[in-house]
């Protein structure tokens, strides 16, 4: 069986993961290891008047208690936000300072004010509890509404009115004019609920300072160890890059939350130097709720205008985005360039205008989380068009169909240029699989049992592999978004691929090896993928935004191209043939039409012995590439969800869920299906179960699994996962990316289905039984 592109081979990494042999950061044990615990603010907004550590310092096992003044005194820099957004009026964004350990003020519950280093974890925690702090509580703004209210507490001095930026995209006048002439306008207020990412492995760091070499090593739960090293070095002044090694070993899920460099990693590195001990910190689940960057949290007003035929003429959107107490690494880009640029959806919309107000609140920082901006956009667009269809009395599939983009490339009014797709083809395939036409009979059958049945669809589009570097740079990005790869063929013919991508569950050890297998016909077991260590791998940008396929694998392809050229040249020389006649297949190098052949290891040996090389050829077989994408890729698809609601309790059951996606080329269908399953599960989580809730005084009310509802297997139906692919035209393999699509396309399909079932469109996520029941009752009251 082929192990190349398109083969559903089993994951190489799963043997260690499923037998408990994975090596995660918390599994790292150093001989001189001490433990860190953080003293955290119990108040959402407070002045730190005095800190008394004397009792804590006297406790058993305590090595040191270090605070923010000492940290800044040692020159450790403030935490940065890596994407500069410019407001409508041309002003730069208003960024408040974020110190890894708060000095004068704390701004959210969980904000760290000191780090305790002790011999054991229990001693560190006990001492952290014994630190006495005199807090002066300040008024709190724990929601967008509270932060924007008149007289709201000022969270950062340099962000008046708590506004980080007031940004816009598109043409306001043209959009207003189009809406003024519209035959119908659909208007909605839409909230995108705040989520906690909840990777299975909590964050962890082991910081190792070597005083003899003045060198630091950081093992950490990172999706992008090189980016971590870059900012730790260039901005946080922990150590110069060549004196800092960052290793992200096995990482148990990230969903975006492990992109960022958090206060804890910075403080552990610094504390390791201060105490000359290796310092380990592992978050517990409560700390994860209190400190891992949250996702989403938008409040939006939108108007979509249609002409007599149902064609969209204009779309105007006004969004408020909650950033929490500090601007996290990619936060500023999420509700702007990752959100508003997708507001055209899969539709031909001639006029779009969007304005976004970024707002500080006394809550955990908010940043990219599986989908990052695109779930917010697709929820908005797909709820709007579904609602419009209901208002216009049209079939929602028909209304979508007359608005679909059909010609490519397609330039939207909001930057994006879609390269490929067959939007109607995908929708039709999903409708057939979902038996869309037979829904009426099923609804009647449910009604006989006293149940309300509903069906909803979502024709999402998203953008992956954020690119090209020059373009994102011109929009304010602080980094380039290319990827690197190095391919090394060893003397015995085995192959190592060093990639700047990072796998934290995605299965790169398998899929990346399949790309090599596809090229040379070697077994995937002879290919090793090396990633996650800045000492081993050349600089790379890491994994997020479904970029490892379209960008990371493209870099591997480029490196393989170079390697193949050299192999051909060498083989032609050895076999005394012309390069054009060299064929590489089944792990052998042959001369076409002859029986002349070199075994794979013979090629390797020849290159490394260097005894008989073509004129001018260097020994060895090692090639590298940096691939800068030409464009974003645009995965899209149609999801159809069918639900049944129990009107007495409001409980919703998902009966059927069809996902028909266009991911372009698929390397491993089994892994892709897994990504879709996980994405849909998280999407159902957002739609029906998950929400971070705060009290008015900024306490997180949902900071444990007793109150934060994660999706479980029995909340979900069997998924029908289908593909209808058109290859991406802008990268060598034609890949579009599949990691986030499920989370992006699912919420609107679910809410469209539930609102269809209950006959009330006024329903916010998560659609819990209590909310669905209340919406049913208010619909009943309205009808009476």
């Amino acid at each position: 069986m082929s192990q190349g592109i398109g083969a559903a081979v089993k994951r190489k990494e799963d043997k260690r993961f499923t037998t408990g042999k994975g090596k995660y950061t918390d599994d790292i044990r150093m001989e001189n290891q001490a433990y860190a615990a953080f003293v955290r603010s119990p108040h959402a907004h407070a002045r730190v008047n005095n800190m008394d550590t004397s009792a804590a310092e006297a406790m058993d096992g305590v090595i040191a208690i270090l605070n923010g003044a000492e940290l800044t005194g040692d020159g450790i820099g403030n935490i940065i936000c890596g994407w500069a957004i410019t407001s409508k009026d041309g002003s730069p964004m208003n960024m408040g300072a974020w110190s890894a350990l708060a000095t004068e003020k704390t701004r959210y519950v969980g904000d760290a004010v000191a780090i305790v280093i002790a011999e054991t974890n229990a001693q560190a925690r006990a001492a952290a509890e014994a630190v006495e702090i005199d807090y002066e509580e300040l008024p709190v703004a724990a929601s967008l509404a509270a932060a924007l209210a008149d007289g709201a507490p000022q969270i950062h001095e340099n962000a008046p009115g708590n506004i980080v930026y007031d940004w816009e995209i598109g043409e306001n006048d043209a959009t207003e004019a189009a809406l003024a002439d519209a035959a119908h306008i659909t208007e909605m207020d839409i909230t995108n609920n705040r989520l906690s990412p909840n990777p299975m492995e909590p964050r962890s760091a082991v910081a190792i300072y070597d005083d003899a070499e003045d060198h630091y090593t950081l093992y950490t739960t990172s999706q992008n160890p090189h980016v971590a090293r870059l900012v730790l070095s260039a901005f946080y002044n922990v150590a110069p890059e060549h004196k800092l090694r960052v290793i992200a070993p096995d990482v148990g899920g990230g969903f975006g939350s492990k992109i960022y460099i958090y206060p804890e990693e910075i403080a552990c590195l610094w504390a390791s130097m201060k105490t000359n001990r290796s310092v380990k910190w592992t978050s517990d689940r409560t700390e994860a709720f209190l400190t891992d960057a949250h996702g989403r949290d938008h409040v939006t007003k939108a108007r979509m205008g249609f002409d007599q035929d149902g064609r969209i003429v204009g779309f105007k959107v006004s969004t408020k985005a909650n950033f929490g107490a500090y601007m996290s690494l990619f936060s500023s880009a999420v509700p702007t360039y990752l959100y508003a640029t997708l507001l055209s959806g899969t539709y031909n919309i001639p006029n779009i205008y969007c304005e976004v107000l970024g707002v500080y609140t006394n809550t955990v920082p908010v940043d990219a989380y599986r989908g990052a901006g695109r779930p917010e956009a697709s929820y908005l667009v797909e709820r709007m068009i579904e609602t419009a269809a209901r208002e216009l009395g049209k079939d929602p599939a028909d209304l979508r169909n007359i608005n679909f983009i059909r010609e490519f490339p397609h330039q939207t009014p909001v930057i994006m240029n879609y390269d490929s797709g067959d939007f109607e083809g995908n929708m039709r395939q999903a409708m057939v699989a979902a038996d869309w036409a037979g829904f009426g009979a099923r609804k009647a059958e449910s009604a006989m049992r006293g149940k309300l049945r509903g069906i909803g669809m979502s024709c999402y589009i998203e953008a992956c592999g954020i690119a090209p570097s020059a373009a994102v740079g011109s929009l304010g990005a602080g980094v380039g978004l290319w990827e690197s790869a190095e391919v090394r063929m060893n003397p015995v013919g085995t192959i190592e691929v060093l990639t700047g991508s990072h796998s934290h569950g995605q299965g790169h050890e398998t899929t990346f090896a399949q790309v090599v297998a596809d090229r040379f016909g070697v077994p995937i077991d002879t290919v090793q993928i090396v990633h996650g260590d800045t000492d081993k791998v050349q600089f790379g940008m890491g994994t997020y935004g479904s970029r490892s396929g379209p960008v990371g694998m493209s870099a591997i392809v480029k490196a393989l191209d170079k390697l193949e050229v050299k192999i051909r040249k060498l083989a032609a020389h050895l076999l005394e043939a012309s390069e054009a006649d060299i064929v590489i297949e089944d792990g052998q190098v042959k001369v076409d039409g002859t029986n002349k052949v070199l075994a794979w290891h013979e090629v390797g040996l020849a290159a490394y012995t260097g005894h008989n090389l073509p004129e001018g050829m260097e020994p060895g077989l090692k090639e590298g590439a940096f691939y800068d994408p030409l464009n974003f890729t645009f995965p899209m698809g149609c999801f159809i969800c069918e639900v049944e609601v129990d009107p007495q309790t409001g409980k919703t059951e998902i009966l059927k869920f069809v996902a028909s996606d266009d991911f372009g080329t698929i390397i491993n269908p089994m892994i892709v299906e897994g990504q879709v399953h996980g994405g849909i599960a998280q999407g159902v989580g957002q739609a029906m179960l998950e929400e971070v809730r705060y009290s008015e005084d900024g306490q997180q009310l949902s900071a444990s699994y007793m109150d934060y509802a994660m999706p479980r297997a029995d909340d979900l139906p069997d998924f029908d996962v289908l593909h209808h692919s058109t290859p991406c035209t802008t990268n060598p393999l034609g890949m579009k990316g599949c990691g986030e699509a499920g989370a992006i396309g699912t919420p609107p399909a679910v809410i469209n289905a539930i609102t269809d079932a209950i006959g009330n469109n006024d329903l916010s996520m998560p659609a819990t039984p209590a909310k669905v029941w209340a919406a049913l009752n208010s619909a009943k009251v309205a009808a009476e």
Binding site: A122, Q648, T649, Y705, A709
Partner: protein
């Protein structure tokens, strides 16, 4: 977790004496409530007295008209007990839907009743049947035992030894799961005896498990779901939280009671 002293007791009497000599001791049964609380540093008993090896606190015996369950009996043992299932299936079903398999194989009926979580399941069965809670010192009637959220008639250091349920003619427990914890957002236990019907509600009230006496009266004369159709449940005093407000819980009390009556066997 704070550090703590561990003791194992093999009888209730030994457990009581170990507790009385501890500074701030706590019984450890299945640990499904106590250990997470300690890990979250919300409880820090000086001493743990483990009763999980006290054989006299384990087991299920069925006599004429009553089932006695040892305090240390796990939810899984109750759920899987064949004789109990044929005598009192509603109780087995209730136990079989507590938590997940891991919880059911550790968690115990005694621990659940001592803890008296306002959203726990067993309190509904105990109050809904008028069971007797036996301790190392006395027998306590269900109507006297439950005293509000996490509050019971137990004295400090008192050890529950067993619970004796009168076996109803017909009974059923309806649990509507809170989406996150899967404890009861509302749970209703309905039991029909020769003397009348009892209805106990968990998860709903700010005062913990309670009897819905209006429904009991109606159902005692007419044991059909229709009999409670005219009754209404007041939302006042019902718990309002992230998962549902008082009016939603009041609705669930009504809906689940009707369903329990319809399903009672």
């Amino acid at each position: 977790m704070h550090s703590t002293n561990y003791h194992a007791a093999i009888t209730a009497a030994e457990a009581a004496s170990l507790l009385s000599s501890a500074e701030d001791g706590a019984l450890l049964a299945g640990g499904q409530t106590l250990l997470p609380t300690m890990k979250a540093r919300l409880a820090a008993p000086s001493d743990l007295v483990d009763i999980s090896r006290a054989e006299e606190l384990r087991g299920i015996s069925i006599t004429d008209g009553a089932a006695t369950i040892g305090a240390m009996t796990t939810h899984a043992e109750v759920a899987g007990h064949a004789a109990l299932r044929s005598a009192f299936p509603a109780l087995c079903d209730l136990a079989g839907r507590i938590g997940d398999p891991a919880v059911r194989h550790r968690g115990t009926i005694g621990g659940s009743l001592a803890n008296n979580d306002p959203a726990a399941c067993y309190p509904a069965a105990v109050l809904g049947t008028g069971a007797i809670i036996s301790t190392n010192t006395r027998d306590i009637a269900a109507d006297d035992y439950f005293q509000g959220l996490f509050a019971t008639a137990l004295d400090a250091g008192e050890v529950i030894t067993s619970i004796t349920f009168p076996i109803p003619r017909a009974a059923n427990y309806q649990k509507f799961a809170q989406p996150a914890s899967r404890f009861a957002l509302v749970g209703v236990f309905v039991a029909q005896f020769a003397e009348g019907v009892r209805v106990a509600v968990t998860g709903a009230s700010e005062e913990g498990v309670f009897r819905w006496t209006d429904a009991e009266t109606s159902l005692s004369s007419d044991f059909t779901a229709d009999a409670i159709g005219g009754l209404s449940v007041r939302s006042q005093g019902m718990i309002s939280d992230l998962h549902g407000d008082g009016s939603y819980r009041a609705n669930l009390v009504q809906v689940l009671t009707a369903r329990a009556v319809a399903a009672a066997s």
